[in-house]
Amino acid sequence: MNGGPSNPPPDAAATDLPPAVQQLIGKPMYEEQSEFPIEIGYVYNTCAATQNGSPLYWDAKVAEEIAGGRIAPPTMLSVWMRPHFWAPGASGERKALQTHFDLKELCGLPEAVVASNEATFGEPVRMGDVLTMRQIVRSVGELKQTKLGQGRFWVIDVETVNQRGEWVGTETYTCLGYRRPEPKA
């Protein structure tokens, strides 16, 4: 998903939506658990990839003193919801944020970009945690002309809790699904 559209997202749901799309709005979907207990290896990978030397993530003693144990950087929240590239018995491409792909298909909009993201962070993610996520379509906008082509903005929340039922965070994705303009003859 390259670049970003300039048009602002809508606040209200559109009135020209197919019924199948209307039915998705506000309904929690695709509740699933993280595929493995949260582990320090991925934390090290992220810190290494961003040259993040915070002792909160590298020094167990500092982590214990500040956070009561090893935790993951909050912005890793979305890392835990992405599926393995391949797993035994899986067929086809495995996708995170399935509601986004559902909306592309139901709206007949083959291309999409993420226009903006917002994340709110709750209880820290701790090593050994098992997270449960669910996706909720908050709104789908009217069909409109954008720089990229004709399309709709939509907003999807991914809510995450840990195995103790504590709220860990919510990520909000504002996306534009669109169709490229027909090439001029």
Partner: protein, 160 residues
């Protein structure tokens, strides 16, 4: 923990600039970040795909990894007791191998909520050759004094 430096809320002023960070981006930077964030999409590791399918000049940094870079940038400034409550980010254009990313940030607002938690709102940008490629806002909790620790807040005492 005496060697660990933590920024206190009283040391911060509205309008204050965050020390800038400069990073030279290579293909390795981009692939490391994509794989660390479990983002297997080919435009973040396969140059042919990025050029032919996305119509861009090379592979480019994925959004979740740029969010992690922004977190590193802001917590380098606060120290480990700085606790992120909220982050908004938007990609304006892409970051490619050969680019030098410059991270900049400014405190826009300071507040103390009704639980006594001290907050700094920060505007951040990632620029290449003076042009903003990625921008974000963070709300980060800071300790009020040496004994305070935002990470101990839970439930109704944590209002990000």
């Amino acid at each position: 923990m005496s060697a660990v430096r933590n920024l206190l809320a009283g040391e911060v002023k509205e309008g204050q600039e965050i020390p800038p960070l400069r990073i030279n981006v290579t293909a390795t930077t981009i692939v490391l970040g994509a794989l660390a964030s479990r983002d297997w999409r080919p435009m973040h590791h396969d140059k042919d795909f990025a050029v032919e399918r996305n119509g861009v000049k090379n592979i480019f940094i994925n959004t979740p990894n740029l969010a992690a870079w922004l977190e590193r940038f802001v917590t380098d400034w606060t120290g480990p007791k700085g606790r992120l409550g909220r982050m908004t980010f938007k990609m304006k254009s892409s970051v490619f191998p050969g680019d030098e990313m410059t991270f900049s940030g400014r405190v826009t607002r300071l507040a103390t909520d009704d639980t006594g938690c001290h907050w700094a709102d920060v505007d951040m940008a990632v620029s290449v050759e003076g042009v903003v490629r990625f921008e974000g806002k963070a709300r980060i909790a800071l300790p009020g004094n040496e004994a305070d620790n935002p990470w101990t807040r839970k439930g109704q005492n944590w209002k990000p």
